[in-house]
């Protein structure tokens, strides 16, 4: 792009923004609202994914075997776990180890002086690669000989798994709906600007301005509105999330399964997302609109 064209386009694009402040404000507000909602959904989605990933890393699946099970049966179940492609890793605990854990958890060893580990079963602690496949895993294992119970801590994972799907749908729907609204608002902003400057545009045409010379300032105007809207949305989303983080994380350790992502960890992603989409929606909305209203 030539320097004069670039200078002209930038200055005209910025001037257009301030020529009709109310229309510009409406455009920026709509874009900001759309991107704020998108940011909110994205933040929820990011947090839900992190919680699921952490939940998957914890050993939430405990397999309890029958009491007095034979060595062959244990070997068979171990081989089954080793061959399962969804098993990240597992650990077997003997009755003696489970008894010690039990006693240490209760903290009153003398109560169990007459008690024997013979009444305690073998157990496995299993971590899966994909926590969403927990139910299948449970059904598969419970069919094996010698397995008494497979205990899943899957309610949280199921909720998160479903929530992510719904959040993704909701994000898409909200983005489309607000995107269409933004598009029309930006289209209106450009139409007002074009009609207000109809004479000037006509003069440009007579002097020999190309389509792009006339259109680029309006496209930049839309991009500027999108940039500002994206920035405002990011700031609002970031401040809101910081407040929520402070509210919910006072009694939660950062390493906890349900711990939220620190604000600084999502700030950059949301900023890039908001600015990129803001500029994109603004520029494309303007480009389509200006193409309709300005024909050389």
């Amino acid at each position: 792009m030539r320097a004069t064209l670039l200078r002209h386009s930038l200055s005209e694009g910025l001037n257009n923004l301030v020529r009709h402040p109310l229309v510009t404000l409406a455009s920026i507000t709509t874009i900001a609202l759309m991107l704020f909602m998108l940011a909110a959904f994205s933040i929820f989605s990011l947090n839900a994914r992190q919680m699921m990933a952490r939940a998957g890393e914890q050993p939430p699946i405990e397999i309890t075997l029958d009491i007095g099970i034979s060595e062959d049966q244990i070997a068979s179940i171990t081989a089954e776990l080793e061959s399962n492609t969804n098993v990240r890793d597992f650990q077997i605990y003997s009755p003696e180890e489970n008894f010690e854990t039990f006693k240490s958890n209760l903290g009153q060893d003398e109560l169990f002086s007459d008690f024997s580990a013979d009444y305690i079963p073998y157990t496995y602690a299993v971590r899966l690669i994909d926590p969403a496949g927990s139910q299948n895993f449970k059904d598969q294992l419970e069919g094996l000989n010698g397995v008494r119970k497979v205990a899943l801590e899957i309610r949280v994972m199921e909720f998160l798994s479903k929530a992510i799907i719904w959040v993704n749908y909701a994000t898409l729907a909200a983005f489309i709906a607000l995107g269409v609204i933004s598009f029309f608002i930006i289209s209106n902003m450009v139409r007002v600007a074009v009609f207000a400057r109809g004479d000037e545009i006509n003069i440009m045409k007579y002097v020999g301005a190309t389509n792009w010379y006339i259109r680029i300032p309006y496209i930049l105007e839309g991009a500027f509105a999108g940039l500002i809207g994206g920035g405002v949305a990011w700031l609002a989303a970031y401040l809101t999330y910081m407040r929520l983080f402070d509210l919910f994380m006072t009694r939660t350790l950062p390493t906890d399964v349900l711990a939220m992502i620190p604000p600084i960890g999502i700030a950059q992603i949301i900023l890039m997302l908001n600015l990129g989409l803001g500029i994109g929606v603004g520029a494309i909305g303007s480009a389509v609109s200006v193409r309709r209203y300005i024909k050389v």
Partner: protein
């Protein structure tokens, strides 16, 4: 050279704006197009600037058929045509200098070239001392001179003026016509659509009269009403010493 070859234009409303019009204008000519309102003068101008396409026939500029030019190339054609309008069509948010510079910016001239050429052109039209004024601060005659400066700043091959004196008093009309004649003497073709009977009679230039879409008269040194059907071949005028200053690059 501009050539209309059996050009007809019928609008979608069914109006026959031009009917089988043929004429040739040589490079460097000064031509008045006259006719009543609605006779087809504006359509003729619109065909030259490619705002409209003929329904039939050809419009040739230097043997190039502009009636078939692709829309994306229209701006490049218009850069060879300086337009002057009755209502001046200046941008009131820009200064006199910026209004003229604007035409150069559009064609991609460098800032250095703009700074060099615009003051020269403003000197030619006698407005160098008003370069920083806004158009609304100027008289009608001065505004039209700004429009002429804008039209000539890119050194076009053709200046098309649509009623350039329509909003001006006789004194200013005279000055504007003198300016256009001076530009013409430097070799630029000038076509003026006008209703100004006195002006046409006084200038003694070629007159093409359009009536109801038909070319009814083509006089070489005609007047508004007088009919002189014999058209002598156009003789390009000798460029005089004053005219050397018309083309900005000749000065710079």
């Amino acid at each position: 050279m501009i050539e209309f070859r059996r050009v007809s234009k019928t609008y979608q409303t069914g109006t026959n704006a031009l009917r089988d019009v043929s004429f040739t204008i040589e490079n460097g000519e000064f031509v008045f197009i006259i006719g009543r309102s609605g006779a087809g003068k504006s359509t003729l101008i619109k065909l030259l600037t490619c705002e409209e396409r003929p329904s039939s026939g050809q419009v040739l500029m230097d043997k190039f058929d502009v009636s078939k030019i692709k829309r994306r190339f229209v701006p490049f054609l218009r850069r060879n045509i300086g337009m002057v309008f009755q209502d001046f069509r200046l941008i009131h948010t820009k200064s006199v200098f910026q209004n003229v510079a604007f035409a150069m910016e559009i064609v991609g001239s460098s800032t250095k070239a703009i700074r060099r050429r615009v003051p020269i052109v403003l000197s030619i039209v006698g407005l160098r001392d008003k370069a920083l004024d806004r158009p609304r601060m100027l008289s009608g005659g001065e505004q039209q001179r700004v429009a002429i400066a804008r039209a000539m700043v890119n050194n076009p091959m053709l200046i098309l003026a649509d009623e350039p004196t329509g909003n001006l008093d006789p004194t200013n009309s005279e000055a504007i016509m003198a300016l256009l004649e001076q530009i013409n003497r430097s070799g630029t073709t000038v076509i003026i659509c006008t209703h100004d009977r006195d002006l046409v009679d006084r200038m003694k230039k070629r007159v093409i009269e359009i009536d109801d879409g038909l070319l009814v008269r083509d006089d070489c040194q005609g007047s508004y009403a007088q009919s002189n059907p014999v058209c002598q071949p156009y003789i390009k005028p000798v460029v005089g010493p004053v005219d050397e200053h018309i083309r900005p690059e000749a000065v710079s």
